[in-house]
């Protein structure tokens, strides 16, 4: 009996933790159904008649669709390119261990170390010099570059966990290296691949600074739209902020929900039974 109660309390605690972390997000979502004065009201308005005006206004704005499409396209393409390229490199680092492995891995990590505000001007000048300003392709590649460090590191970690026996089996059976990579290793590390895809997707999804400065009408994503229209007539447009934020977190939340399994699986996927 006490075991059941203990488990019940345990579960309640876990749900409490989840709800506490979710509470501010919940507040934003709730606010998206309120009017401006209701959002600012104190005591806080918890029971009210919800309005969908904020959303109708949002969807009626052609800029919303355009920016949302850009967001999706940029994020998806960039992480796909990044993970593909990173996978190849991670495989090489893991299996062949070229002499410069540690150095290169470290170098890749250093990409993340540079604060955005320092890198923005040189990147901007470079982009303008190459004529890449407001180029969709160039923006995608930039985001891909930024997704590479995390992807390489996590994929290498996963590939390290795949026994080389598989490769040996593949070679013995006459597969080319590309065959091994694609058909033997990849299926065993797809949790890592999914993790890399999801984390980088979230990062690119929410990126503002580079998109604002280097981008233009062809590449503007939602964070730029959010920042631009946040202020109306000097005051903050709370209804716009809450409704756009709510819509904008839906895709990543959905992704996290659907692919959760892969995010939580560890790196023992690739061990051959009997090996530790």
């Amino acid at each position: 009996m006490s075991e059941r109660i203990r488990e019940g309390l345990y579960h309640a605690l876990l749900w409490l933790v989840s709800l506490v972390f979710f509470a501010p997000v919940f507040w934003i979502v709730l606010s998206s159904f309120k009017t401006g004065p209701q959002i600012l009201a104190v005591p806080p308005v918890l029971f009210f008649r919800p309005t969908f005006d904020n959303y109708t206004k949002l969807f009626a704005d052609p800029a919303f669709e355009h920016h949302f499409f850009n967001s999706i396209a940029l994020s998806v393409l960039a992480v796909l390119i990044a993970v593909a390229v990173s996978f190849l490199a991670a495989f090489a680092f893991s299996r062949f261990r070229p002499a410069a492995t540690n150095f290169l891995m470290f170098l890749l990590l250093s990409i993340r170390m540079l604060p955005g505000s320092a890198a923005i001007l040189p990147v901007y000048l470079m982009y303008v010099a190459f004529g890449w300003k407001d180029s969709f392709v160039a923006m995608t590649l930039f985001y891909a570059m930024f997704s590479i460090p995390f992807s390489v590191w996590i994929l290498k970690g996963f590939i390290d966990g795949v026994s080389p026996r598989f490769d040996e089996t593949g070679i013995v059976n006459g597969a080319s290296w590309f065959g091994i990579i694609a058909r033997l290793t990849l299926p065993q590390v797809y949790p890592g691949v999914v993790a890399a895809l999801i984390f980088n997707f979230i990062f690119v999804w929410n990126e503002f600074l580079f998109n604002y400065i280097i981008g233009g009408i062809n590449t503007s994503n939602i964070p730029v739209l959010l920042a631009t229209n946040l202020s109306q007539g000097g005051g903050i447009d709370w209804t716009f902020l809450s409704s756009l934020t709510t819509i904008y977190i839906l895709p990543p939340i959905l992704v996290v929900y659907l692919f959760q399994r892969y995010l939580l699986v560890g790196m023992t996927f690739g061990t051959v039974r009997g090996e530790v």
């Binding site: 005591p43 062949f96 250093s110 993340r112 604060p115 390489v152």
Partner: protein, 318 residues
């Protein structure tokens, strides 16, 4: 028969292609081929800007001055190091990073353990998704809304505190509270990330070993050190490393909530850099500051990785 004859009678271009791929597949060449795309990305998008930055740090150059850059050696670096406020900002940032990453990792790991053992939690998937929601919110939105939540007049937190009978806390407008208020938001936002990392680390532990450890009656701490940490070290370490590097660059939240104020209460080093690089357009000195920050990050990462793998190196050598 005819088919194989046709197949073997490959056209010159097809043969060349096959030879090419065979060449690429050779053991000496293949690693370079696989790494090449990443390197190309790295060189174009990272090396060029970094070199530009490094070079410019030795010049005095302000974009809005209309004057050409003036070579000045280490002038910028000396200025920054001699400026007392740099050290205040750095120490404030260090404290922020240590506290943020420390609390996020500890809480993350603890929560990760709790959730990891909760296979039978009803609605587990939903609960975890809700838990991960803070990571996903756009920083501008999170910062602006937290500013509202923290506001004594309009915010829900102070209303709640008032209900409990305490006087309103001026979270963002009081110099002593602002730092902790911003820290709290960072912890709120990134603990879920560490939970994720912890759960992935735990997932790397073979069930067999955990059970063996239980059978052998190892203490919790021993179990943690010998089994969990051994297998999950890589992912945990990656998480801590990434989080530290990112925490050092914290700027978005501050920009929306307090802008570095009141006074210098929330002036973290990335905020100073932003101001210098992107508002004053002091390219020379901001580049120098960026280089200094980069060196600090590199030093930290190198030390971290070294210490982490020192035992492995020792056992390998032994």
């Amino acid at each position: 028969m005819t088919g194989s004859v046709e197949a073997t009678a490959a056209t010159p271009s097809r043969r060349r292609r096959a030879d090419f791929f065979a060449f690429l597949g050779r053991r000496e060449v293949l690693p370079s081929v696989l790494i090449a795309p990443v390197l190309i990305f790295f060189i174009i998008w990272n090396t060029i800007p970094t070199l530009w930055l490094l070079g410019l740090s030795f010049y005095r150059f302000s974009l809005t001055s209309g004057r050409a850059p003036i070579y000045s050696g280490f002038y910028n670096y000396v200025n920054i190091i001699n400026d007392a406020s740099t050290w205040f900002d750095l120490s404030r940032t260090f404290i922020f990073v240590i506290l943020a990453v420390g609390i996020e990792t500890t809480a993350g790991f603890f929560l990760g353990l709790l959730f990891w053992g909760s296979d039978r939690l009803p609605g587990r998937r939903v609960a975890l998704t809700l838990l991960f929601a803070p990571m996903v919110v756009t920083p501008v939105a999170a910062g602006t809304f937290w500013r509202l939540i923290y506001d004594p007049t309009f915010g829900i937190l102070d209303w709640f505190i008032g209900l409990l009978g305490f006087p309103a806390i001026r979270f963002l407008s009081d110099a002593s509270a602002a730092f902790w208020a911003v820290l709290a938001v960072d912890i709120w936002m990134w603990t879920p990330f560490m939970v994720l990392m912890a759960m992935a680390a735990l997932g790397s532990v073979p069930r067999a070993e955990l059970e063996a450890a239980e059978i052998d009656r190892l203490t919790l701490f021993q179990r943690f050190r010998l089994v969990i940490l051994y297998h999950g070290k890589f992912i945990l370490m990656l998480g801590i490393l990434l989080r530290t590097i990112d925490a050092f660059k914290t700027m978005d939240l501050i920009f929306d909530m307090t802008y570095g104020g009141p006074g210098t209460a929330t002036e973290l080093v990335a905020m100073t850099l932003f101001r210098s690089a992107f508002e004053s357009f002091n390219m020379g000195s901001s580049s120098a500051l960026a280089v200094i920050l980069l060196l600090i990050s590199i030093a930290f990462t190198a030390t971290f990785l070294y210490v982490l793998y020192i035992r492995e190196r020792r056992t390998a050598e032994a």
